[in-house]
């Protein structure tokens, strides 16, 4: 067991609760996928929860966040209501993207959640631009961009890192290294497997951290955020983590050993963190069960909300392709 949890009890439990919220939301989503309620691709974050929870709690609420197509957790922790996330997966108009995005494209202007992006590395140049806009307008908000290690083989990664460092922009590059780009292991796809060394070629500050440990993630991210906000340029964090479930619902998982999966599961972020809280007397079994029951309620309320949601009328099929002249954009930043 690592160092004592360095937080007041209340915050220590928030971290646990948020990981549990992601876990249960996704387990339920997987069931609903099986029941045919959710379709398309569904990429589960199960196993990686400590990264989104630890990292997003290190940010200010108005920092910009960009994520990948495995982004249910990031959206939820950034403050998108679980009801709106579930309704989006159901394809309902009450969804956070009005049923136009689905699981991979959760968006929320209110919380500055700039999306689920299904183009690998697609969010990185956007983060650079958001940070540039922020600096040009004299603001202090940063842009945090989550991406997998697979994105580091894309040109967009290299172009974005170069720009961010060249222009010393407030971008937090959050690499979720879960070792597989879909089914291709890191060593089978990239010549340099030391990701900090690879990013470091661009003269960016880097740090690798145990992504299965929510405390380690939070602490490392807080330190990085402090540097970025102080104007010391962008920062690259590698969160070493692991995806417990298949890549998507269509993945037979032929590319990795069951034993390897079991080894990582033994380091499960929820299990280990709750054990640690119990060992330190911050949580007892009754407290855990109460927390779990609350989360269960939130999930079931989200399902009920999605079930009761309405389909977008077909006459609105082509809305939101262009901005109507009469309607100011919902994101106040883009107001004319």
């Amino acid at each position: 067991m690592s160092v004592p949890v360095p937080y007041p009890r209340e915050f220590a439990l928030v971290l646990l609760r948020d990981m549990l919220r992601i876990r249960r939301l996704e387990e339920r989503a997987a069931e609903l996928y099986g029941a045919g309620k959710i379709r398309g691709f569904l990429h589960l974050y199960i196993g990686e929860e400590a990264v989104a929870v630890g990292a997003l709690h290190a940010l200010a609420p108005d920092d910009a966040v960009l994520a990948t197509y495995r982004e249910h957790g990031h959206a939820l922790i950034q403050g998108v209501p679980m009801t709106a996330i579930m309704a989006e997966m159901y394809g309902k108009r009450e969804g956070c993207s009005r049923g136009r995005g689905g699981s991979m494209h959760l968006f929320d202007a209110r919380t500055r959640f700039f999306g689920g992006n299904a183009i690998v590395a697609g969010g990185l140049p956007l983060a650079v631009g958001l940070a540039l806009a922020e600096r040009m307008q004299g603001g202090s908000r940063l842009a945090a961009c989550f991406f997998g290690e697979g994105a580091m083989a894309e040109g967009a990664f290299h172009e974005a890192l170069n720009l961010a460092v060249l222009w010393q922009l407030p971008v937090l590059f959050c690499c979720e290294n879960n070792l597989y780009a879909m089914g291709t292991a890191l060593a089978r796809s990239q010549s340099q497997t030391d990701l900090c060394a690879k990013a470091g070629a661009y003269k960016i500050a880097t740090r690798a951290v145990d992504g299965m440990d929510v405390v380690a993630v939070h602490q490392a991210t807080c330190a990085a955020v402090e540097q970025v906000r102080a104007g010391l340029g962008p920062y690259f964090l590698e969160y070493q983590t692991y995806r417990f479930r298949a890549h998507s619902m269509f993945d037979p998982e032929l590319y990795r050993d069951k034993a390897e999966v079991e080894q990582w599961k033994a380091r499960g972020p929820l299990h280990n963190y709750s054990a640690r809280l119990k060992a330190e007397g911050l949580l007892d079994e009754q407290g855990f069960l109460a927390l779990a029951a609350e989360v269960e309620q939130e999930v079931e309320a989200a399902v009920a909300y999605a079930e009761a949601g309405s389909p977008e009328p077909l006459e609105d099929l082509c809305r939101d392709v262009y901005t109507p002249a009469s309607e100011p954009p919902a994101n106040p930043e883009a107001a004319p």
């Binding site: 183009i119 697609g122 040009m136 392709v321």
Partner: protein, 324 residues
Amino acid sequence: MSPRTSYREALREALREALQRDPRVFLMGEDVGRYGGTYAVSKGLLEEFGEERIRDTPLSELGFVGAGIGAALGGMRPIVEVMTVNFSLLALDPIINTAATLRHMSGGQFSVPLVLRMATGAGRQLAAQHSHSLEGWYTHIPGLKILAPATLEDARGMLWPALQDPDPVLIFEHAQLYNLEGELDQAEPVDISSARMRREGSDLTLIAYGGTLGKALAAAEQLAGEGIAAEVIDLRVLRPLDDATILASLRKTRRVLVVDEGWRSGSLAAEIIARIVEQAFYELDAAPMRVCSAEVPIPYARHLEQAALPQVPAIVAAAHELCG
């Protein structure tokens, strides 16, 4: 005393005006600053507005076009310059997968007020990686607006309304037009929604845009000497197309010829003719025709390049055939 100006200077004046009027506007692209712009459009602006707002970028089309989208989302009004349409292919992902989709994909939450300028077209013996006319390709994409200024007035006037547009606008500047000179009295406001009649006529309608407008007008002049009164429509806006202006003209002339520097197959010319046939088939006196580029990557040698492009004699010949 009308001041003489060039297309290049008109574009520069438009940039200067936008930078002066709106502090959110900035220009970003390869060699827009120190070098003064590949086509010298932004010459002098760095000295006037500084490095933050006249921002030189590395050779990273994917990166800086994506960053332009991000800056637009973050409250700025970026004008991103890509050297040529051929190079914009390196940024197809952010243009098409993000700029064009974001508003819809986010359920109307995130509009992308980005202006993307680039040179297009052939005629300078720059061969097949600098000379293509791919703007028609972009017109396939819902979510984008596509402009093609062909006159000094539009070079001067289209940028400001493009910047007021909440959605991504692509402006295609035909490389042969930068040296176009003429008189421009005053910066008149122009719209970015309609096509415009550039010459009135009653015998046939020539539809052109960008680099082919001058050729269509030259052909119309020659045809006038041969007793054929050609009307010339400048599309100006390639997406969304102004069907009403096109149809109004051909209802008068009953004959239509589209002049498009894109290749014939799957072209903008094909789309225009399809719309005409769908909406006004029985009002036509002859099958619509088009003059497009030969289906070949644009070659280097001057005689081959010129032979590959729509030229006045071909337009005149097609007009005679239509009116015959």
